[in-house]
Symmetry: C2
Subunit: 658 residues, 2 copies
C-alpha cells in the first residue's frame, strides 16, 4: 500500500533533461529559474518550496516557490557556489490558507462561523505545538481569541502577522516531493564566455626556418592579448613521434627536418606528460603560463588521447592498443583514410581500468601545472562513459576546470558528449553561411532543449577547417565571420595568425586543408602585415563592454527583406543593454535591406525616435518606428554592431544620446 | 569506475511520459511504435532491439529495431495480450557490419585486404564460438575460406547467408540498455471506444409516479440497444439516506415521498454493496446484467465514494470521516455550497488503511457481480495515490476492468488521474462550442503528450450539465453536439432520455441544472415522443461501420472560410477509410463555406474527381480539386458525415462509386 496521506503531487519540473539523468549546466552567479506543477486532490491551497543541496554540503536548504497560475510554481535559485547542486521541488497542503479561504467564502455566504473559527483555533493550537518560544505563546493567545468567536476572532483570521506566524510552522505531514533529485552544475564564467586564440607554438618565432619555442611564444603574447583574447589555446606541446611521421602537406614520407604533426604524440622524450624538447622545458612552460597570466590570458591545452608508434605506452602497454590478427598494432583510420603516425588507444580493451587510470593521471598532471582549460581532441571516438568518469574526477580535484569538446560529428553524439560533462562544444557554425541556416543553427543551439547542458563555441576557422566561404570571399568574408562568431554566442575562437591575416589558400580544390598547413611544417607569420587585428580588437572590446554578449540568452533574429543580410538583437534587460547586429553575408557586393524590429518586445517606446550607435564605425543614426534601412558595402565593413539607445528619460533630453 | 566497455548509448525513447514513471496506455491488438536514439562513440555500425516482457511473464522477448536515420531506431510491438508490458530498447556495436563496411571502403580505395580478411575470419570464429550445431560448422568453414584471402573470401564478405548467420550470434559484450524500464498498459477495446447512455433507473417506468425498478429498466433496454449504444451507465443504485435528504430542485427539505439523490449513498438497507430496495434485489440486478448482455449492452456502474449520514460506515467507522471540533461530522461542501445529505470520506485519516481496504472490497464485490466498467464520481477529491493503488488492485483481479474519471476540474489534476490509471476521462467538450476552441481542445487531447495516457469520453450533456448552447439552440444544437461528440473521439456519451428528447429547460437562468432534475425527483419520459432517436441510431451505425471512428488517431481539421462551419477528417489508412465531417455550429441559421482539403496528405489523387457520400442523408456528390462547397441548414440537418471515395481502380470505373 502506498503512503496514503501523501496528497501532494509534484511533476513536470523544468529544467530537467533525460528524466534527471543529465546534469543541467549553469554558471556560478546565475539565477536559475525552476518551475514545477504542484497540486493536491480536492481544492486545498497548496504551498511549495525548492529544496536544494549546495555543492559538497549535506544539509538541505530551501527557497519558497511562488504560484504563477494553472498549478505551476516557480522559484529562483541563485547559484553562488561552484560545483554540483541538487534540487527537488516539494509541496504540501497549506491547511491554514485553505481554512482562511473557505472561511472567507462562508462569511460572504452569511454562514454561521462558530464551528469554523473553532476549527481555525485548532489549527493554531497544532501550529503552536510545532512552534517554540514567543511564537508558541502568541499562537496559543490567538487560538483563544478565535475560540471566543467574536468580531476580533474573525478579524484575526486575516491578520498578516498570524499568516506569517502560521507560515513558519506548516503542517508537512502530507508533503509530496518530486521523485527525482535533479542536478545542476555551476561552472565558472569562462565555461560559457571567452574569446579563444589557437596557436602552433612552434610557429611563433621571429627567425624563419627556426623552430619556435614556448619562450619565443611567451615573448609575443602581447600581440594576442592586445587584440583582447581571453584564452590562448596551444596545439599539442608533447614530443612528436618519428615512426610514420608525416611530411609537408600530409605526405606519408617526412624529410629529416620535417617536424611532424603535433597530434602524433609521444617519442623518445616521453609521452603525454612530457614537453617536446624543441619547444622547451617544463620551466619554460611555467614561464609561458606566468606570462599569459600577467597579460590576462588563460592557457588552454590540447588533450589528444592518441599515441605515435614511438609513444612509451606502445612498449609498456601494448594491451592498450588494437591489434591485427598478425599481432601488429592498428594505426588510426577512417576508411579509406589512414593515419600511419597515430595509434588509437582501445578504451574498451581488457586492460581498460589501468588505461583510464593512467589517462586520469595525465590530466591531473597538467591540472597540477595550473592548466584549467582543456580542448579535447576527437572525444567522440572514445566511450561516453570514459568522459563522464574522467571529467567528474577532474572536477572533483579542481572544480574550475573547463572542457571544450572538439567533435564535428552527428548531432546526437555531440549532444551526448555535452551530457557527459563537457563545458562547451564546437558546432557546425563554420559551415553555416546563409541567413536562414545561421538563424536555424543558432536557434537550435541556444533555444532548443540542448541549451540546458550544451554551450557552443563558434569557430570561423581551425587548422583543419578553411571553409569555401573563406577561401573565396577574401577579407570581407573573414570580417563577416568574425562579427558573427563573436556576437552570436558567448564563446568563439579563431585559429591565428591565419585568421587575422586572412590566409585563404587551400591545399587543393575542394579541400578544407590549408596549403602549407602548420600541422606538418614550420611556418613564420608576418604579424606586422595589415590584417584584421584592429577589427578583432574592436569586436573583443565590444564583447567585454557588453554583458549581453557574455551569455547565450537574449538572441532574436529579425527580418531584413534580404536573404544576404542577417540581422539579430542581443538583449539583456537586467543590464539594460540592447544590441542590433547586421551582417552582410555576401562578401562580393553591397547589400541593403529594411530591418524590422519588434519594438514592443525589445522595450523600445514605439512613438519615439531612438539612437543607433554603430560601435564598429562609431557612427550614430536616429531611427523611428519599427525598423530602419541598412546598407553594407563589404569593401568598407560588412557589419554594423549597433548599440540601441531608446529615449528613457524624457526630462533629461540633453543627454538623450548618452 | 563505470563499466567502461558499455559503449552504446540509448536515449530519447518514445513513448515515454514523466521519465517512465507514468504508464503509457494502448489497446490490446495495437501496434505500438517505439523509437529511440541508439549510438556509440566512433563510427561503428550499431544494431538495436526492443526487449519486452509480456504481462505476467518473466522471460524477456525482443523485436528488432530498424534504423530510420539520424541515429534513430524504430520497432513495432504488437500488444496481443491484455495487461501491462515492460519495454526497454537495447543497442550494441555490430562488429561484423562495421567490419564489412570498412572492408568495402578499403576495397574501393585499392588497399591490400589480407589483414582485413584475417580480422573478418576472426570475427567469424568468435561468432562460431557463440553458435551451435550447423551454424558453428558453417561459420568455421567460412572463416577458413576468408583466411585464404582469395576472391572467394572477398565475395563471402557480402554474402547474405553469412550476414544472416552473423546476425544470429552478435557480440553483445558492449551492449547498452536504456536505463529505465518503460511500461505500457494494453486495455481492452472498450477502454478506448464506446457509445455510452446514462440513465436514472428509477425513471424507467411506464407508470407515472411509480418508482422504476431494475426490472422495469431491463424491460425497456431494447429502446437503448436499438439506438446502437454500447454501454448502459447506471447512476448509483444503492440505498439512499434519509437524513439531510434533498427535495425536488435541490431544496434542503424533502417531503416524505421525495426519493432523494442517488449520490447520498447508504441507509438502513445498507451501503455501497447494497441495492436500493425500491429498485429491486440482487437477483433483479443480475437479471438486468443478463438482459443487457443479450442486447450487446455493457453495464457501467457509478462508483461514488461518499456516504449519507445514514450509511452504516458512519456508525461503524466514525474515524473515516472528518470531524468538527465539537465532534460532529462535517458534511461535504465546496464553500459556499453545502451538501447536507453527504459526508465525504477522509482518505488520509488515521485509519486510512482500513478504509482503503474496505473500499477495495466494495469494488471487488461489484466486479464479482460481473460489472467491468466503473464511472467514478469526483475522483479528484480523493488522493491520487488511492486511485493508483485501487485501480492496480482491480486490474490485478480482473484485467478487463475499465474506469471513467468524472473530474471536471483543472487540467493538470485531470491528467494526473489518467496517469493514476483511469482508462478514460470526461473533458471540457461540453463547453467548447466555437470552431477554434473545439479544434484546439481536440488537438490538445488527441495530439498532445497526454494522448499517450489519457483518453477522452465526450459528453454533450450530463445530469449536471445542461449547457447554454443546448438550452438555447433547440433540436439543431442537440443534433450538432451529437455528431461532434460521436465523431471527434472514439468514446462519447449522452444522458438520456433527456438528450434524445432535447430536454432543454434549466432550473434557473444562468444555471446548468435541469428543471425538475432527475437527481432529486422521479421523472417519467415519453419515449415515443419524436426526438433524435433516428439520428442517434444512424450515427452509432456509422461509428460501428468505420474503424477510423473507433480510434483517437487520424483526426485533422480543415479550413472552411466560415467560423461557424467546422470541418474535419477522420482517417484510417490501414482500414482504407476517409471520412469528412462538416458541422454547422450555428443552430439558428444556415451556414455555407468552402472546405479546403489537403489532397496529398489525405491520399486523394489531385487531378481526379472523388465521390462524397453523405452517410447521414445518403446523398452523393462529386468533388474535384482541393475541396468543395458545403451549405448546411440546421432545420434540415446541421451536419454531413461524408465517406470520401477517391478513384482507386482506374481499370474498373464501373464500380468507382462503390
Amino acid at each position: 500500500m502506498p503512503e496514503g496521506w501523501r496528497r501532494v503531487v509534484v511533476e513536470s519540473v523544468t529544467p530537467e533533461v533525460d528524466g534527471g539523468r543529465t546534469v543541467v549546466k549553469r554558471i556560478r552567479g546565475d539565477r536559475m529559474v525552476v518551475e514545477a506543477d504542484v497540486f493536491a486532490d480536492g481544492h486545498d491551497v497548496v504551498a511549495a518550496e525548492l529544496r536544494f543541496l549546495r555543492p559538497g554540503q549535506g544539509d538541505w536548504e530551501s527557497v519558497p516557490m511562488e504560484p504563477v497560475g494553472n498549478d505551476r510554481f516557480r522559484a529562483e535559485l541563485t547559484l553562488d557556489a561552484m560545483g554540483q547542486y541538487t534540487y527537488v521541488p516539494v509541496g504540501w497542503c497549506d491547511t491554514f490558507a485553505t481554512w482562511r479561504e473557505d472561511l472567507h467564502k462562508r462569511r460572504l455566504a452569511g454562514h454561521d462561523l462558530t464551528a469554523d473559527l473553532a476549527a481555525g483555533a485548532l489549527l493554531l493550537t497544532e501550529a503552536a505545538r510545532r512552534a517554540g518560544g514567543r511564537d508558541r505563546t502568541r499562537l496559543h493567545g490567538w487560538a483563544a481569541a478565535m475560540l471566543r468567536g467574536d468580531f476580533e476572532g474573525q478579524a484575526l483570521a486575516d491578520a498578516p502577522e498570524l499568516a506569517a506566524a502560521m507560515a513558519r510552522y506548516p503542517d508537512r505531514s502530507q508533503e509530496g516531493a518530486y521523485p527525482v533529485a535533479l542536478r545542476v552544475l555551476a561552472e565558472r564564467p569562462r565555461a560559457r564566455c571567452g574569446a579563444w586564440y589557437e596557436v602552433f607554438p612552434r610557429s611563433w618565432t621571429r627567425e624563419p626556418g627556426r623552430h619556435g619555442t614556448l619562450l619565443s611564444l611567451a615573448e609575443r603574447l602581447p600581440y594576442i592579448a592586445d587584440m583582447g583574447f581571453d584564452v590562448l589555446y596551444l596545439t599539442p606541446i608533447h614530443p612528436i613521434g618519428a615512426t610514420g611521421r608525416k611530411g609537408p602537406g600530409n605526405t606519408i614520407t617526412a624529410g629529416p627536418d620535417d617536424p611532424g604533426s603535433p597530434w602524433a604524440i609521444g617519442g623518445g622524450a616521453g609521452g603525454h606528460t612530457a614537453i617536446h624538447p624543441e619547444l622547451g622545458s617544463r620551466d619554460d612552460f611555467r614561464a609561458l603560463m606566468r606570462r599569459a597570466g600577467e597579460l590576462g590570458l588563460e592557457v588552454a591545452m590540447d588533450f589528444a588521447l592518441q599515441c605515435s608508434p614511438d609513444h612509451p605506452y606502445v612498449a609498456q602497454h601494448p594491451e592498450w592498443f588494437r591489434h591485427r590478427p598478425d599481432g601488429t598494432i592498428r594505426c588510426a583510420e577512417n576508411p579509406p583514410k589512414r593515419y600511419e603516425d597515430i595509434y588509437p588507444l582501445d578504451f574498451a580493451c581488457a586492460g581498460w581500468e589501468a588505461l583510464w587510470t593512467e589517462l586520469r593521471a595525465v590530466l591531473l598532471h597538467w591540472i597540477g601545472e595550473g592548466v584549467r582549460i582543456f580542448r579535447v581532441d576527437n572525444p567522440h571516438t572514445k566511450p561516453f562513459a570514459f568522459w563522464e568518469w574522467l571529467i567528474a574526477e577532474a572536477r572533483a580535484a579542481c572544480p574550475d576546470v573547463v572542457f571544450l569538446a572538439e567533435a564535428f560529428t552527428r548531432p546526437k553524439v555531440m549532444r551526448r558528449l555535452a551530457k557527459a560533462g563537457f563545458s562547451q562544444s564546437y558546432t557546425y557554425f563554420a559551415w553555416r553561411n546563409g541567413s536562414q541556416e545561421l538563424a536555424a543553427h543558432m536557434t537550435e543551439l541556444l533555444r532548443g532543449e540542448s541549451a540546458e547542458y550544451m554551450r557552443p563555441n563558434l569557430w570561423p576557422n581551425t587548422p583543419d577547417i578553411l571553409t569555401g566561404y573563406l577561401q573565396t570571399g577574401g577579407r570581407p568574408a573573414f570580417a563577416a565571420r568574425l562579427v558573427l562568431a563573436a556576437t552570436l554566442a558567448a564563446s568563439y575562437g579563431v585559429y591565428g595568425p591565419a585568421f587575422e591575416l586572412c590566409e585563404a589558400e587551400a591545399a587543393a580544390p575542394g579541400s578544407e586543408e590549408y596549403l602549407d598547413s602548420e600541422k606538418y611544417q614550420l611556418r613564420v607569420w608576418d604579424l606586422s602585415a595589415p590584417g584584421l587585428q584592429p577589427l578583432i580588437t574592436r569586436v573583443n572590446r565590444i564583447r567585454r563592454d557588453h554583458a549581453c554578449l557574455q551569455v547565450n540568452t537574449g538572441l532574436a533574429f529579425h527580418p531584413t527583406g534580404n536573404d544576404r543580410l542577417l540581422a539579430y538583437t542581443r538583449r539583456s534587460p537586467e543590464a539594460g543593454e540592447l544590441l542590433l547586429v547586421v551582417v552582410n553575408l555576401n562578401p562580393f557586393g553591397a547589400e541593403q535591406g529594411w530591418v524590422e524590429l519588434p519594438l514592443g518586445e525589445l522595450g523600445i517606446p514605439p512613438e519615439e525616435p531612438y539612437q543607433m550607435h554603430d560601435l564598429l564605425s562609431d557612427a550614430r543614426y536616429i531611427w523611428q518606428g519599427p525598423g530602419g534601412y541598412v546598407a553594407l558595402d563589404p569593401r568598407v565593413m560588412p557589419a554594423h554592431i549597433f548599440r540601441v539607445r531608446p529615449r528613457l528619460r524624457r526630462e533629461r533630453d540633453f543627454d538623450y544620446y548618452g
